[in-house]
């Protein structure tokens, strides 16, 4: 793969056409630039040259034999002929061999219709085969994993899948075993091929050998209406193509070279298995299809939203604007969250708007880097983030950058992650000591002496100094961090760190905050924050707020999501709207949150799936959700893209219509929008940073929005980490990609990934507690307890208990109280 910054070019002739391409380009890609299609099987532009299938034979002048265009790097004044009789005959011969044992069962093959082997045979193949032997029969339809099926007869041994597993996924889980006639694609000892990215092999397989088990025989590809849209799971917002047949959901594919141009600025043409197979929720039996009141009576959408609006207004009239609140979700689109904050700020006059339980303010003191910037950086500093579980395709991007673009990766985390493997250096600090570690790093970058951290953070000053030296020695630094995993004042320290790195001489620095949720960046930008208006306008910026939002705009600081729950418990908060969130399970406190919500006079839950929270609601508004609703989302790199609907629901309005009608119910003068882009246009006028965003601008690749200004980075110094008492361990809640929640329910094809509750203990602590791997233990904090299986490992430093969130039933959040304070747990047998 040529480095992207390559500038040297060569000029050559392909089929009489003159081409100028960067040096090092292979002939296949060079031909593509002038519209000449050289057939390939084994070559894939993201995998690089290989040359095992021989499909791309071309004639190169002055070369005695035919050359494979996929491995032939072009040279100055080269003359390539793709259609000379010699080349045509050569390719015909290759195809005859390729088809020697291919079963030609195209009518029953799921790839039929989009199969490169079919297309290439049609265009370049011989009319008849000359072989008289019976075809070699091999295993058909063998499950390679619960979601991928392999048909060994159809395989042409192009090795795209095995090279993908080696080069892109970097697991080398899929390999060719045996040789010659007997060779076959296999995992180690035929174990299931269940990596996080296994589904991509279905997309890149140029024949029908690897197929999607969930799509098996569901339809033929010509039946499908394909919608190019976005994945709605994590914050990467990968581009996907959803295939729909007569308004029924059929399959998800990555938007990649096979169907249309991959969006390299976002996903590089790959998606994770959750994105591909985790779409059961769009047709789940657990969906909220109709609005209903607390008694369970079904309501028409218009009546329901009218009731919600008037009731909330009534509460504000009686108890003041501070008595209502809105808890949104990072899973909403920009339009939905924008309209909700408008409803609460303009119509109800409150700033009680939030979407998260961690601390984060809009804006960064440095540039907000796009995902593509990772490749061009000299160094990536990964802080407290576990991309493999939290934003999988980012994991692929980092691995690619490290392997092919010589990017140095430094990991700073309190747990062992898959990113330690590609990392040049990886430091593991004690759980809860991130503020201290970051402070020390800032000091080291400012060339101040670094205080001793061994006792509190488990890191030697020298390690911090080395890390600082690496940062100082790198020209372009990209900091990737997870704001949700930073406790205490670390959320301020990270901004201070960014400011410090950005302030170093001759330094380019940018950051990518990777918070959980599809649209966490967009939610912050849309003002789903108690202290910030859309576009990161702080409440102190009253003049600007007044010009944009009118003189009535509330300027009193609002309540955060957790404060709202507290006020609900104390009875001060009367009305609450919960949009696509499930506080009863996901918020710290667990059952106590349910108690608080029960005390509310009026709880409106706007969601697409039945949750523990919808059970408590006085009014449930049905949400169509991803798949059915149009809208834009802003990904972790600040890129705004359009999430097109792929399915149609005519019996229920989209969320943006529903919310705008709520606004109109209170203010008949409020605008009504023709389509979701109408709201987008209003966002571009009202939200600083989104000025350039409109329907045409975000077509195709999407468009980065301008990051909002950062509010003053607050003061220095971090309190020393709290000390444990009575041998209690500090709890770290980790993430697991395939958690068994409402989105991935028991019927999900990914259910084989579900894990049982596990607590990871360091060997030191385990020894002191007398616990061994496999023991059934209870993780206890106060009254709450969670049962788990113990695993003794080096996943975290001594003094901590790491528990991944694996399911809703696990009830893990019940252990957590105030997320800012340390959570101490006892491990009991």
């Amino acid at each position: 793969m040529p480095k992207k910054t390559q500038t040297e070019t060569v000029t050559l002739t392909i089929d009489g056409k003159t081409v100028t391409v960067p040096k090092g380009t292979v002939a296949v890609d060079a031909a593509k630039t002038v519209g000449i299609d050289i057939p390939v099987f084994c070559y894939h532009e993201k995998l690089g040259p290989f040359g095992c299938c021989r499909m791309c034979l071309v004639e190169v002048e002055k070369m005695p034999k035919l050359a494979t265009a996929c491995t032939q790097a072009v040279g100055q004044d080269m003359v390539i002929k793709t259609d000379s009789p010699k080349a045509v005959k050569g390719r015909q011969g290759v195809l005859e061999f390729t088809l020697l044992n291919h079963p030609l069962d195209c009518p029953v093959c799921d790839k039929g219709g989009e199969c490169p082997l079919q297309d290439n045979t049609f265009e370049h193949g011989p009319d008849l085969t000359r072989t008289e032997f019976t075809r070699y029969n091999r295993d058909k339809a063998v499950p390679l994993s619960p979601v991928v099926t392999i048909d060994r007869e159809r395989c042409i041994a192009c090795q795209r899948c095995t090279r993908y597993s080696d080069i892109v996924e970097q697991e080398t889980a899929l390999v060719m075993v045996n040789r010659g006639f007997q060779n076959r694609v296999q995992t180690f000892q035929d174990r299931p091929y269940d990596t996080r990215f296994s589904g991509n092999v279905v997309d890149i397989c140029p024949v029908g050998a690897l197929t999607n088990t969930t799509y098996r025989f569901k339809s033929r590809i010509w039946d499908l209406d394909n919608a190019e849209t976005l994945c709605a799971h994590c914050g990467v917002n990968c581009n996907i193509v959803v295939g729909v047949r007569s308004n029924e959901f059929m399959r998800v594919q990555a938007k990649s070279g096979e169907n249309s141009q991959a969006n390299d600025a976002v996903d590089d043409g790959w998606i994770c298995d959750k994105g591909r197979f985790g779409y059961g929720f769009v047709e789940s039996s657990n969906r909220v299809l109709k609005c209903r009141n607390g008694k369970g009576d079904t309501l028409e959408a218009n009546d329901a939203l009218g009731q919600a609006a008037t009731q909330l207004k009534k509460i504000t009239d009686e108890h003041g604007p501070q008595s209502v609140g809105f808890i949104g979700s990072p899973y909403g689109t920009n339009e939905e969250l924008y309209l909700y904050q408008k409803l609460f700020r303009q119509q109800l006059g409150t700033n009680n708007i939030d979407f998260k339980t961690y601390r984060q303010t809009p804006g960064l003191p440095v540039e907000h880097y796009d995902v593509g910037d990772i490749e061009t950086s000299d160094m990536v500093l990964l802080i407290a983030s576990d991309p493999t579980e939290e934003a999988p395709v980012l994991d692929l991007r980092i691995k690619k950058s490290v392997s092919f673009f010589d990017v140095k990766l430094a990991v700073l985390n309190d747990q062992k992650t898959d990113m330690d493997k590609p990392a040049a250096s990886s430091l593991r600090y004690n759980v809860g000591s991130e503020a201290e570690v970051l402070s020390a790093l800032i000091e080291a970058l400012n060339d101040k002496p670094v205080r001793g951290l061994e006792k509190t953070a488990g890191i030697a000053p020298k390690q911090i100094k080395d890390l600082a030296a690496t940062i100082q020695g790198s020209g372009k630094v990209c900091v990737i961090y997870n704001p949700a995993a930073l406790t205490g004042s670390a959320s301020d320290r990270i901004l201070e760190l960014l400011q410090t790195i950005g302030g170093l001489p001759d330094k380019q620095c940018g950051a990518i905050p990777v918070a959980p949720g599809t649209n966490a960046v967009g939610a912050l930008d849309m003002g789903a924050h108690p202290n910030f208006y859309p576009g990161g306008l702080a409440l102190s910026d009253s003049e600007k707020i007044k010009t944009l939002w009118g003189d009535e705009a509330p300027l009193q600081p609002g309540l955060s999501a957790l404060e709202m729950i507290q006020k609900a418990a104390s009875g001060e908060l009367k009305g609450l709207v919960v949009f696509r969130a499930n506080p009863v399970v996901d918020f710290p406190g667990g059952p106590t949150v349910a108690e608080a919500l029960k005390k509310l006079d009026y709880l409106v839950v706007h969601d697409m799936l039945e949750t523990e929270t919808t059970q408590l609601a006085n009014l449930v508004l049905a949400s169509n959700g991803p798949g059915y609703d149009d809208g834009t989302t802003t990904n972790i790199g600040g890129r705004v893209q359009f999430r097109k609907r792929s399915l149609v629901r005519e019996d229920h309005p989209p969320d943006w219509v529903l919310i705008s009608r709520m606004i109109r119910a209170l203010d008949p003068e409020a605008p009504s929008y023709k389509n979701s882009f109408g709201v987008t246009d209003e966002i571009s006028q009202k939200v600083p940073g989104y000025e350039a965003i409109n329907k045409n601008a975000i077509k195709g690749m999407g468009m980065p929005r301008k990051g909002s200004a950062c509010s003053e980075v607050q003061g220095n110094g971090a309190p020393a980490a709290e000390k444990s008492e009575n041998g209690a361990l500090r709890l770290r809640v980790a993430n697991y990609l395939f958690a068994h929640d409402k989105i991935l329910d028991a019927s999900s094809p990914l259910s084989h990934h579900f894990k049982s509750s596990t607590v990871y203990l360091n060997a030191e602590d385990a020894k002191a507690l007398g616990i061994e791997t496999g023991d059934e233990v209870k993780v206890v904090s106060g009254d709450a307890e969670v049962s788990a299986e113990a695993e003794v490992s080096d996943r975290c430093n001594p003094g901590a208990a790491l528990v991944p969130r694996v399911s809703d039933e696990q009830g893990l959040m019940a252990l957590v109280g105030d997320p800012d304070a340390a959570v101490w747990v006892q491990i009991k047998k």
């Binding site: 195209c106 029953v108 010509w222």
Partner: protein
């Protein structure tokens, strides 16, 4: 003058010759519906789905008929054969197969496209009915293969299968 008269008489006799010839021959019209016409074997009438010698359906649900149909009157949904439920010999079979006989233009492209010779158009031409719903022929209706001209018209005028 004489030659002209001779020519006239000759023409008259030739013309009458045709008349007399037809007086003696069988009439071309048939007393339908009492008499049914034998259609040529390759006549494109109603569609049928075929079975093989073992009684398995030939159709594998590949939908090539549906994509080739110029009026999109065929709808197919496929499913996988299992050991317990084997419908066709291949991996898949058509779990749903419907043809809208009203929309169909009887062009025979589906027959042409079928890789398994599973769909055929035969000589059955009596397709009239009073009920439009009947015209969406499902698998059950298509898998029956009646011998030619075994339809009869009942007293309401509906075309039904004899016996």
């Amino acid at each position: 003058m004489i030659s002209q008269a001779f020519e006239g008489i000759k023409n008259l006799l030739v013309g009458l010759g045709v008349t007399f010839k037809n007086m003696l021959s069988q009439p071309a019209t048939q007393c339908y519906p009492e008499v049914k016409r034998e259609m040529p074997a390759r006549y494109r009438g109603r569609h049928f789905l075929t079975r093989d010698e073992q009684g398995f359906e030939n159709c594998v649900g590949c939908e090539l008929c549906a994509i080739n149909c110029p009026v999109s009157c065929i709808h197919v949904e496929a499913a996988e054969n299992t050991e317990e439920n084997r419908v066709s010999l291949g991996e898949r079979y058509a779990s749903r197969y419907e043809i809208n006989l009203l929309r169909c233009i009887y062009c025979g492209y589906c027959e042409e496209a079928c890789p398994e010779d599973a769909i055929i158009l035969r000589e059955h031409y009596e397709l009239a009915d009073y009920d439009r719903d009947v015209y969406v022929a499902d698998k059950e209706a298509l898998l029956v293969y009646p011998k030619p001209n075994e339809f009869r018209v009942n007293f309401l005028g509906n075309t039904t299968l004899k016996n």
